[in-house]
């Protein structure tokens, strides 16, 4: 399931809900992306999504990833709007019988979410705002799976 949220969210509460009642799972990997202050140079991150379109794209990608890695389940929550340093931007959890699949699927989903998912990202710093494109590292990470 994918959820976009304007409000801050609590990664731990999501992990608790995701782990509950799994007696054949074995492995839950999770990733939480937090907004960095960058020593004060990036005070606010602003993320724009295209409601409906963005969730569909993420859902379609995650369903394909779940099949590729043999996941039992997955959960993605992504923040939109204005995000302060230290707040969670993204939470991804993956469940599988064994840990290799859970780790790899979580890693794979994050690489795509950080580089190719339909978001537009603006950083508001002391010198004004600027739109952010994927970094070379993001592109390299995503290409590992192509």
């Amino acid at each position: 399931m994918i959820t976009l949220t304007q409000a801050p969210f609590e990664p731990g509460a999501l992990l608790t809900a995701f782990c509950a009642g799994r007696d054949e799972t074995g492995a839950v990997a999770s990733f939480t992306g937090l907004a960095r202050a960058e020593g004060g140079s990036a005070s606010i991150l602003e993320l724009e999504a295209y409601p409906g379109f963005t969730e569909s794209a993420i859902e379609a990608f995650a369903v394909e990833a779940a099949a590729r890695f043999g996941l039992q389940d997955w959960r993605i929550v992504h923040r939109v709007g204005r995000i302060a340093p230290g707040e969670a931007v993204v939470f991804v959890a993956t469940a599988s019988k064994h840990r290799r699949a859970a780790f790899e699927a979580c890693d794979f989903l994050m690489d795509w979410l950080k580089s190719r998912a339909p978001f537009w990202k603006k950083e508001h710093g002391p010198d004004g705002a600027r739109w952010i494109e994927p970094t070379a590292q993001d592109r390299t990470d995503a290409q590992r799976w192509d």
Binding site: G33, L47, E48, Y50, G52, F53, S56, H78, V89, V90, W112, L113, K114, S115, R116, A117, P118, F119, W120, K121, K122, W131, I132, E133, P134, D138
Partner: protein, 79 residues
């Protein structure tokens, strides 16, 4: 009437995010926008800008029915 949505730097450039435009095709829609703001129309054809009609990506030309949503998407940054 098509509902036009702009995202990211395109919305910043245009000064609006959403507008109703009378147009029966994507070409007519682009022409209508160009009449009003030629620089914006050019940016909408810029490298990496994708077009979604009713939330599905389209390439090239498209016929627009009544109450169609047309979104112009600059290169996606990831989350």
């Amino acid at each position: 009437m098509a509902r036009v949505l702009l995202f990211g730097r395109l919305a910043d450039q245009a000064g609006w995010r959403e507008r109703e435009v009378e147009a029966g095709s994507l070409a007519a829609l682009r022409a209508s926008i160009a009449d009003d703001d030629a620089a914006l129309a050019q940016a909408l054809e810029g490298p990496g800008v994708q077009v979604a009609v009713d939330k599905a990506l389209v390439r090239g030309e498209a016929v627009l029915a009544a109450a169609t949503e047309v979104a112009f998407l600059p290169p996606m940054s990831g989350g």
